[in-house]
């Protein structure tokens, strides 16, 4: 399941959806939250802009590539857009597999890929009231490089 949505998601609902077959031995979930400090500044809110159409296409392609590399029984990627406040959920990636190695690798791969390739942009509002587009992190580029990707979105 892939979704780009304004509304929040629920951990238990998504977990239950992943836990769908008796062949599943391992479920790994990742949830990204709005953090209070980013790049040394105190954040109060953020807004997520995206490229409608391309975002969904990109997420589908990322999941397809993950399925080509690892044994995945169920997968979910949810990314929220619009205005979010502190500690709100931004992104969910869940993978259900027979074995934990596949579930961990596929979940981290999808996040690393999404972080540098999926067309989302964060604009932060600081506690001071100032707004600022978030800068891309070199660490995210490095995280992606370990997967030796051939094609990107």
């Amino acid at each position: 399941m892939i979704s780009v949505q304004k509304q929040d998601f629920n951990q238990q609902v998504e977990y239950n959806r992943l836990k769908s077959k008796t062949s599943i031995g391992a479920i790994v979930t990742f949830t990204g939250l709005v953090r209070d400090i980013n790049q040394d500044q105190r954040v109060s809110d953020l807004t997520l802009e995206h490229y409608p159409g391309m975002t969904e296409k990109c997420l589908i392609d990322i999941v397809r590539q993950a399925k080509a590399r690892w044994n995945i029984i169920e997968s979910t990627v949810i990314h929220r857009i619009g205005a979010l406040t502190l500690s709100e959920q931004i992104v969910f990636v869940g993978i259900a597999s027979q074995h934990r190695g596949d579930a961990f690798a596929a979940c981290e791969f999808i996040m690393d890929y999404l972080k540098t390739q999926a067309p989302f942009w964060k604009k932060e509002t600081m506690e001071s009231g100032e707004t600022k587009w978030v800068d891309a992190r070199e660490a995210d580029q490095q995280a992606l490089s370990k997967w030796n990707l051939e094609n990107k979105c």
Partner: protein, 82 residues
Amino acid sequence: MIKVLFFAKLSEQLGTRELLIESNNIKDTEQLFQHLLKYQADWSGVLNSQIWLKAVNQSMTTKNVVLNDGDEVAYFPPVTGG
């Protein structure tokens, strides 16, 4: 017509989200970019101020791509979702 989209900081700085451009004299993305540099007085400063990413028909590419009528080209900053 070529549909040109700008996102996030780039869209704010250009003051434009979407443009439709006659494709007659624009053969590829290199020519499109040259056209955009002269589109408005202050655009070359913004477009040359940093490296922007480019997607042609919703696929990112760093290459010069041949354009046809109806193609969609988007320019945007490095992505920061997740």
